[in-house]
Amino acid sequence: MSRDDIFEKIQEVLDDALGVDEDEVTPEASLTADLGAESIDFLDIVFRLEKTFDFKISQGELFPENLTENEEWVNDGKLTDEGLSMLKGRMTHVDFNAFSESDRNISTIGDLITVNSLVNFVEIKLAS
């Protein structure tokens, strides 16, 4: 499946899950900041991606979860070097470059999940 085909299917997934128009679903659009996704929408998106692309997604594989439970990863609301290293290794579909140069406030980490990162994720899953 080509990257364009994956993108089109993800447009449909986000249209159904978030009630957004397909033209709002641009590659750079952030699911939370631009498309209005809330935490429970992530579960909905995971289920729809599994159904659409016929693979299984483990909890925490697509979106960062439960980071605050580990003090080595988050300190005073900021992602630590260990936390950033862990996420970069576990979530190769996400671009952490700008985030690593910022103040690393954990409350904004959800904004890193863009449509493009979903396409990356599906591409990696289908290739594995």
Partner: protein
């Protein structure tokens, strides 16, 4: 589940499908608040709740009601025509996806008009449920299962499905404390 919007369960395929019935009666006060062109109408929001209870029992039964299952999202809901007093509603829920974090369900609403024999499909409802102990990490909830209360156990017993409920020590303690 304090207010029941289903009367009985009529079919159950474990971990797949559950069907429930609701008889609409003029004795129900809410019908008198929704009168359209002189006809008392069952509010669609309450039919969505009926579907949520049907699908919620189906999802909860997969873990023998150990998980606290709450309705997290109404993904889609459509209704083609109204339901009125004397009609019967048939909620049919199937599980589309389920894991530790939650479940998505697909449901159809069917209507049998008063005095009729045939069922007609009049609506669809897609729902998302969350297993809150697994999905809302960091928040604390009571140990006992406050979602599935005595009312719903009565429905299960009536349908001959009480074996689906696992009586945990926490639930026994909660029942004693509530007496």
């Amino acid at each position: 589940m304090r207010w029941l919007w289903i009367d009985c369960i009529i079919e159950h395929e474990p971990e797949q499908r559950l069907v429930a019935i609701k008889n609409v009666s003029l004795a129900e006060e809410h019908l008198h608040d929704y009168v359209i062109d002189g006809t008392p109408v069952m509010p669609f929001s309450l039919m969505i709740e009926g579907m949520a209870q049907t699908a919620g029992i189906l999802v909860g039964s997969t873990s023998r009601f150990r998980e606290k299952v709450i309705l997290a999202k109404i993904s889609k809901a459509t209704l083609d025509c109204d339901v009125t007093a004397g009609d019967t509603i048939r909620y049919e829920a199937t599980i589309e996806r389920i894991d530790k974090a939650g479940a998505s369900t697909h449901g159809t609403i069917n209507r049998r008009v008063a005095g009729g024999d045939a069922w007609e499909r009049i609506g669809k409802v897609e729902l998302l449920f969350s297993h809150i102990d697994n999905n809302l990490a960091g928040l604390e909830f009571p140990e006992h299962n406050f979602v599935f209360s005595d009312n719903f156990k009565m429905i299960l017993e009536t349908a001959g499905l009480s074996h689906l409920v696992e009586t945990t020590q926490e639930n026994r303690d909660a029942t004693i404390n509530n007496c």
